[in-house]
Amino acid sequence: MRVLAALVAGLVFGLGLSLSGMLDPVRVRGFLDIAGAWDASLAFVLGGAVAVSAIGIQIARRLTRPVFDTAFHLPATHPVDARLIAGSAIFGIGWGMAGLCPGPAIATLALGLGPSVLFVAAMITGMILHDRFFASET
C-alpha cells in the first residue's frame, strides 16, 4: 500500500507540474527575470502548493502516525548552517542557468527530449559527487 501511495503521490505531483507551467524552462526563467519581462504567474504555483501542503501538515500534526507507516519520517531540526546557505546558493545558480529544478527535470524525461536527459544525467552526477566526497558526517 505504501508503494502504491508513493506512486499516486508522484503521479499527482507530475500532473500538477505539467498543468502549472513549471516544466517549461522559458517560463521558469521568465518568472526569475524580475528586472526584465517578468512573468509573475509561476508565483501562484508556489502559493497554491504551500497552501494545500500546509493543510496536510496541520492534519499530520493531529496524527500519531501516517496511514501506511508506524511513524513519521521528518527531517530533524538543525540550526541554519553554512552548508545550507552555500548549497542553496549553488542550487539557485544552476536553476537560474537552465530553468530546471529536480522535479520538473525528471518529469520532462517523459517527453523524451535529449536536453532533459543531459540535464538529469549531470544532476545525478552532481548528487553522487556531493554524497561521495562532500557529505557531512551526520
Binding site: V3, G10, F13, V52, L84, G92, A98
Partner: protein
C-alpha cells in the same frame, strides 16, 4: 491572465501530492532527496522513492491523456550550459538538503526556519543568475 489559473491549480495539485505523501507514508516529498537516495547504497525505502519518481515521470503522460497535448517544454540552454547547470543543481540541492519541493513546498508550509533561509537564498541567486546572463548576453 490565462496563465494564472492553471498555475494555481497545478500548484494546488503539487501541494496535494506533498500532503498525500506525508499523511500516507509519513515522508517529505522532496525530489532532490528522493533522487539522491536512489544512489546511496543500503538506504531503506528505496521502493517508495522509486515508486514516487515513476509516478512523477508518468504525470506528463497523464496530462497528455487528459488534455490531448504534451505540456510545453522549451529548453533553450546550450548543452555545455545544461551540463554545468545540472551539476550545480544536483550538487547544491544535496549540500543544501533540499530543492524547490522539499524546502519550497513542504518546508515553507512547515514554517521551517532552515527552509525559509534556503528558499530566500536560492531565489536570490537564481534571480541574480538570470539577470547577469541577460546582461552578458549568455544563453
Amino acid at each position: 491572465m490565462t496563465d494564472y489559473l492553471p498555475a494555481l491549480m497545478g500548484g494546488a495539485l503539487i501541494g496535494l501530492s506533498a500532503a498525500l505523501y506525508l499523511l500516507l507514508t509519513g515522508r517529505v516529498a522532496g525530489i532532490s532527496g528522493l533522487v539522491g537516495r536512489l544512489f546511496q547504497p543500503g538506504r531503506p525505502g528505496l521502493s517508495l522513492n522509486l515508486a514516487f519518481l515513476i509516478g512523477l515521470l508518468a504525470g506528463p503522460i497523464l496530462y497528455l491523456a487528459l488534455s490531448g497535448a504534451w505540456p510545453q517544454v522549451r529548453i533553450e540552454a546550450s548543452p555545455w550550459l545544461l551540463g554545468l547547470a545540472g551539476l550545480l543543481v544536483g550538487f547544491g540541492s544535496r549540500m543544501g538538503s533540499g530543492c524547490t519541493s522539499g524546502h519550497g513546498v513542504v518546508g515553507l508550509a512547515r514554517l521551517s526556519g532552515r527552509s525559509i533561509v534556503a528558499v530566500l537564498t536560492f531565489m536570490a541567486t537564481a534571480i541574480m543568475t538570470v539577470f547577469l546572463m541577460r546582461l552578458g548576453g549568455v544563453s
